[in-house]
């Protein structure tokens, strides 16, 4: 079952260089006297196969960090390399490519599209990337290995939180990204579902693929290879 989670899973690391490398990241919100540095010269490396947990108080900049790493937002200063690609110099089209092929996102509130069935949600990134057939095969095997066969046929609103989050993880994996970014994925789940989801993320972080997990969950930090805490805009 483990082997179905991704083609990369179980493969030996081929590179010793970090998968993600961030240097001197700065991000501020507001301007003038109201300006606030949310990230202040953050340096960060994530190795292939690593499960990195990021903790910190609410408002400490954890989500902001994930957004920058995934190319959803641009840093004010600093550089980020993901799988060998310098993302601060990418165009909008380049960032779209990055999000398509290199990064998968998992959110606290799942963010499945309510109009689409579970299966359609899972396969959508593959369709957007233009390889529907391969994505369909992959989506099917992911759905099978995550035991989502029944949920895949239904609309998200009719599913439990745990089922929705597992669908969201399958969606994040369908294009076989090198980096999975999970922002408090267990925040809206009961203990049992949370344990399942954490177990999944642990299994995903293998081979060349790394997972960065933002969490409050003590159990999550116990599973992680490494834990960093953000405080005052820097890793403490």
């Amino acid at each position: 079952m483990t082997g179905d989670l991704g083609a990369n899973a179980g493969r030996a690391p081929v590179v010793s260089a970090p998968l993600v490398s961030a240097r001197g990241l700065v991000k501020s919100y507001g301007s003038g006297r109201a300006a606030r540095r949310v990230l202040d010269e953050v340096d960060l490396d994530v190795a292939p196969g690593e499960l990195l947990a990021v903790v910190g108080r609410s408002g400490s900049g954890k989500s902001t960090l994930l957004h920058l790493l995934g190319g959803l937002d641009r840093a004010d200063a600093g550089s980020i390399t993901v799988n060998g690609v310098r993302i601060e110099s990418l165009s909008q089209a380049g960032l779209t490519e990055l999000r398509r092929h290199q990064v998968g996102f998992v959110f606290q509130s799942f963010h499945l599209l309510p109009e689409l069935s579970g299966f359609e949600n899972v396969i959508l990134p593959g369709r957007l990337a233009g390889d529907g057939t391969r994505a369909a095969a992959r989506a099917r095997s992911l759905i099978e290995s995550l035991e989502l066969g029944e949920a895949a046929a239904r609309l998200p609103d009719t599913l439990s939180g745990g089922e929705q989050q597992r669908l969201a993880i399958a969606r994040a994996l369908v294009n076989d990204p090198a980096l999975v970014l999970a922002d408090e994925p267990t925040g809206n789940l009961d203990a049992e579902s949370a344990a399942i989801v954490l177990g999944l993320l642990r299994r995903i972080a293998a081979g060349p693929r790394a997972v960065v997990l933002v969490t409050h969950d003590v159990e999550a930090t116990a599973l992680a290879d490494r834990v960093i805490e953000l405080r005052d805009g820097r890793p403490a």
Binding site: Q92, A93, T96, E115, P125
Partner: protein, 760 residues
């Protein structure tokens, strides 16, 4: 009230973007309304305004030249006559000025007394050597005040100085009418014609009581002993004559206005309902805080009115301006006057109505929402309704992004339905305009549309018909006599009498509405227009007053749907007509054989010594007139197209706004800008496709039949859009949908993705 106002203003300020969007919608609806009102009001009142300004007489009598001292006492002796003035008219005068030339001018010598025309530039004729031109001539030739015009006829010549420009609606304007009119000093015209002093041939008559005009005219006939060729035209007759040229179009434009108003109301109601839907939560909060439903509704009404007032004013003005120039040109062609500043009143009425409609449409759903228990309102807020079994667009043929867009639209069924309704109304009007344009073209060029089967006509004695009938390519030929007549009992009701030698249905056979074809010289087939005017039905008697003064009576055998002369036409046998009116010259109607062309037969006729003229459709002689109409219709269609674009943009912008999280998620999982646009295009295509479909059905079943009924009750006009028009409208809506999607997507993807993802 002041606190209500303050809350409304604050709400507007906070939601400036939405207020602007709503304002845009109102402005678009107002533009439609303004355009429709301007056209309908200007054309609807143009005749009466011009007639009043000109002091158009109740009746105009024409007769062979007679001494004014003989005619005046007889006219003034008639009961009911209030005032009379006289003119001496010379027809077929050659007029030239700066390289322009016409052979058909009518020059009228005006005497003291009321004029019956309105001076619209310069001044009236005061002294000899001066001339006032009709406006059509002045425009067409570009003549200025102070220029001179030359007159020539036989051995007479004159040069007159232009001192003014006049309008009178007793006929259409030059060049639509082929002869322009010039008004000069009576003595100049008398000299030019070589008439005796005091000779006149036109009397303008104003009466005390227009309702009794028929009686007055009948008595005038009795008292007309010694006056030859007496003919009357009445103000009502003129009105219907002018109507011939533009009646169909004016009625259609009125129909357009009605549809436009309907569409505007639907559009406003839809956007108001959508707005309330978006704000259900805040309504719930207000109710929880103790606001009454009435206060909530009043707040919404006030807020909506605050937006509607400036937006509506702007839109109305823009719509009125857009159609102002073509409308003005159409009025000029009809010798009518535009309303000028008076148009402000109906537009102001529209503004009041519009603001009221907007306020009511905003208040009504708010009131309904506020009347529900607050808990329900709060709970119902922001729920995205997903149609349970909506499995539209399953399969791999349709792109997943388009399919997603379709589902986004379906998750807002009420708004989607409202949008479809507006697009359908707009599409049906555009289809109507296209159908009308096609009809105008056919009316002008295809005699079949007016029931004429012969393609050529020859002016020749009746005896030539047999010879022409034997020529190769000719299937038949018959003499056709035509004469203008009036009803003996209602002299104001004029119509055309057509008499054929033999069976007229071979040559000219408008469809029967009731009764049967005529059988013998005692019977007549009347057009539906005439039947309606005189209340005739099969079995009734038609008493025809001919120009010779003789009266002929016929029994009505049937009523036909003739388009010519607005259906004011009567078909009879030629024999009795010729006995009563011996000096009629016929035209020979020439029916072509199958396979023969107009040109080949015309050549045969020429070889035999006959000059053949092609037979056209209705009596709109001038292509320029149709051009003016086309320009007017085009500007209306343009306004409608813009409204459709706006409606689509508004709907998609609302969707993108409401579903900005979905847009952000799409971008997060790798959607490019074009793919976000494709999702929106999916929504747009759904409403465009159903809008076009519903529009086509609406036009075919409701709008088309209604408009053709309105346009001319005396005939059945084929105002149904064809497949080509339907395809054009469908394609046009799809293109507009694509434009709107691209536009909205552009702004939607500019928003930061993370802002869309953050929970609110």
């Amino acid at each position: 009230m002041t606190s209500l106002l303050r809350i409304s203003l604050a709400r507007l300020r906070r939601r400036r973007a939405r207020a602007l969007l709503a304002a845009g919608g109102i402005a678009a609806a107002a533009a439609m309304l303004g355009a429709a009102t301007t056209v309908a009001y200007s054309l609807g009142t143009g005749f009466d305004r011009a007639a009043d300004r000109a002091g158009l007489p109740d009746a105009i009598a024409q007769f062979d030249e007679a001494p004014v001292d003989d005619v005046r006492p007889r006219v003034l002796a008639l009961p009911n006559v209030r005032e009379v003035s006289f003119r001496l008219e010379d027809g077929g005068v050659e007029v030239f000025s700066e390289g322009n030339y016409t052979r058909h001018a009518k020059v009228q010598g005006v005497r003291e007394g009321r004029r019956g025309y309105a001076i619209v530039a310069g001044r009236d004729v005061r002294a000899r050597g001066e001339v006032v031109l009709e406006r059509g001539l002045e425009r067409e030739w570009g003549v200025r005040l102070g220029d001179t015009v030359g007159l020539h006829e036989f051995r007479s010549d004159a040069t007159l100085r232009v001192v003014g420009v006049a309008v009178t609606p007793d006929s259409v304007a030059f060049p639509l009418a082929n002869g322009p009119r010039l008004y000069a000093h009576y003595e100049d015209v008398r000299d030019f014609m070589g008439e005796r002093p005091g000779a006149v041939n036109i009397a303008l008559v104003w009466v005390q009581n227009p309702a009794l005009l028929d009686v007055t005219l009948a008595q005038a006939r009795v008292a007309s002993f010694g006056i030859a060729e007496l003919r009357f035209v009445t103000r009502e007759g003129i009105r219907s004559l002018i109507g011939q040229a533009a009646g169909i179009v004016i009625a259609l434009l009125v129909a357009f206005s009605l549809v436009a108003v309907g569409a505007a109301v639907v559009m406003l109601a839809a956007s108001a309902a959508a707005d309330v839907q978006r704000r259900l939560a805040s309504i719930g909060v207000l109710r929880t805080l103790g606001a009454t439903p009435r206060a909530v509704a009043a707040g919404y009404a006030l807020e909506a009115a605050l937006v509607a007032l400036p937006a509506g004013a702007l839109g109305l003005a823009a719509g009125a301006l857009a159609v102002g120039t073509p409308t003005e040109r159409l009025l000029e062609a009809l010798n009518e006057l535009g309303p000028g500043i008076a148009i402000a009143w109906p537009l102001l009425g529209c503004l009041v109505g519009l603001v009221a409609i907007v306020a009511v449409t905003a208040a009504w759903p708010a009131w309904r929402a506020a009347s529900r228990p607050p808990v329900e309102t709060l709970a119902g807020a922001d729920v995205v309704h997903v149609p349970g079994r909506a499995r539209l667009g399953r399969g791999t043929l349709v792109s997943p992004t388009l399919r997603l867009g379709v589902r986004l639209a379906l998750s807002r069924p009420a708004r989607t339905a409202a949008t479809i309704a507006v697009l359908a109304a707009a599409a049906s009007v555009v289809l109507l305009i296209l159908a009308l344009a096609a009809l105008l073209q056919r009316l002008e060029s295809d005699p079949e549309t007016v029931g004429k089967r012969y393609r050529l006509a020859v002016t020749a004695p009746a005896g030539a018909a047999a010879e022409i009938g034997r020529l190769p390519g000719v299937a038949g030929a018959a003499a056709r006599y035509e004469v203008a007549a009036a009803d003996s009992f209602a002299l104001g009701e004029s119509f055309t009498v057509v008499g054929f030698d033999g069976d007229h249905t071979r040559f000219e056979a408008p469809p029967l509405a009731s009764g049967r074809r005529l059988d013998g010289e005692a019977e007549v087939e009347v057009g539906l227009g005439l039947a309606q005017a005189l209340n005739l039905s099969p079995g009734a008697t038609l008493a025809v007053q001919l120009p010779s003064g003789r009266e002929v009576r016929y029994r009505v055998s049937g009523v036909v749907r003739a388009l010519e002369n607005e259906g004011r036409i009567a078909y009879v046998g030629a024999m009795r007509l010729r006995r009563a009116e011996p000096f009629l010259t016929p035209r020979i109607a020439v029916l072509l054989e199958r396979g023969a062309t107009k040109d080949s037969v015309a050549a045969e006729l020429r070889a035999a010594g006959f000059f053949a003229e092609p037979v056209g459709g209705v009596t709109v002689q001038n292509g320029g007139f149709l051009d003016v109409l086309a320009a007017l219709l085009r500007s209306l269609a343009g306004v409608i197209g813009l409204v459709c674009l706006y409606v689509l943009v508004q709907t998609l912008a609302l969707t993108a706004q409401e579903r900005r999280r979905a847009v952000a998620v799409l971008q997060t999982i790798g959607a490019a800008r074009s793919q976000v646009a494709a999702v929106l295009a999916g929504s747009a295509f759904l409403v465009a496709a159903f809008g076009a479909l519903a529009g086509i059905v609406l036009e075919r079943l409701v709008v088309g039949p209604a408009a053709s009924g309105l346009a001319a009750s005396y005939v059945s006009l084929p105002l149904l859009a064809g497949a080509r028009d339907a395809a054009i409208v469908t394609l046009g809506l799809a293109v507009l949908g694509l434009l709107a999607a691209a536009w909205v997507a552009r702004t939607a993807v500019r928003r930061p993705i993370v802002a869309g993802l953050r929970e609110d």
